[in-house]
Subunit: 202 residues, 2 copies
């Protein structure tokens, strides 16, 4: 019997809806016998292709989106504060996630959620390699190895390749979920992801 | 006892998600004892303020959005084709809707749904006053009066005022729903609208 494809979960570490989606995706996947392939990307690079910009910077839509984020956080009971420094570049935590994929795959999800929590609840700047390494080392991983991963040329290349591959696939936002080739954008499409997994599509 | 506020439903006649939302909003409103205040707007004017652009024209996001529209149409069983001429200017059908508000309020919703159907199912260009008047006259309204409404200075002014007022309120997309001052953007937020109506907010 073949293993079903993992669910690809694309996200940016500065994305509030990426954070909301990350807290829910693995339960959705597990319910349908799927794993999650965690794919941190850099929306700043993507936005150069699409001409888009970070949500809170947009006229009208920016104010609304902050209100919507707070409303979603209350509805789903996921703690959330708009960080004082926003957005931030995601290179350091993203490289750590790809390094964990080969070195400590069983800790990848916990590391992602801890990093998101540090940024969106504790308002600490996880773009700093020292902060990102501190957070993930609390899961029992060597801090120096984590720091090294943030500067590792192989991880720099990997992240760049993943961002390019994501754009080539049509990924333009965060979170962005791909199930057996079918794309779903936004945390408010997780209900469609669930239904797609349950039914095989419509 | 005071009547509860109507639900304000802002929409553009060239908006696929506005069409999807329009087919559902009055049932949601009625379930909670509310009326719908129908508010056609012109996204082209709004986009000048926000720097946004019609969905299908955007790199990556455009292709995705067409796929998502088709997927939503199948899921909700609402017939939909991306029109061959897209987007179109909504002045003529929008002025008719504001004219109906005072002249035939009981036919406003049926007229909106018929106009949307003509554009998104029959692929006929409802931006032409003759086409819009034909469609709405089939509901038993005088065709010449409808044609006159599309050129009526009072209706031109009303539409312009409504668009300005919508922007001043923070409306930036279609559909956009306001419940007792609380804003909800997008057809995928109708579940939140329902919950807000049921609970009074969270």
């Amino acid at each position: 019997m073949n293993m079903p494809n993992p669910i690809e979960f694309y996200f940016d570490f500065a994305s509030p809806y990426g954070y909301f989606g990350a807290t829910r995706i693995s339960a959705i996947a597990a319910k349908h016998g799927r794993k999650v392939a965690w794919k941190p990307i850099l929306l700043g690079v993507v936005f150069k292709v699409t001409g888009m910009a970070p949500l809170p910077t947009l006229p009208l839509k920016g104010d609304y989106s902050v209100r919507d984020m707070q409303r979603v956080s209350r509805l789903w009971k996921i703690p959330f504060n708009l960080p004082s420094k926003f957005p931030i570049p995601g290179q350091a935590p993203s490289r750590i996630v790809y390094w964990l994929e080969s070195q400590h795959p069983e800790k990848q999800e916990a590391a992602i959620l801890a990093l998101y929590h540090t940024y969106f609840v504790e308002d600490r700047d996880i773009s700093a390699p020292e902060v990102a390494a501190d957070v993930v080392s609390s899961l029992g991983i060597d801090r120096n190895a984590l720091l090294a991963a943030t500067q590792d040329q192989a991880m720099k290349d990997r992240l760049r390749q993943e961002v390019d591959a994501a754009i080539a696939k049509g990924v333009f936002g965060s979170p962005f979920v791909v199930v057996d080739g079918e794309p779903f954008w936004g945390s408010d499409r997780l209900e469609h992801v669930e239904r797609w997994l349950a039914t095989g599509g419509w």
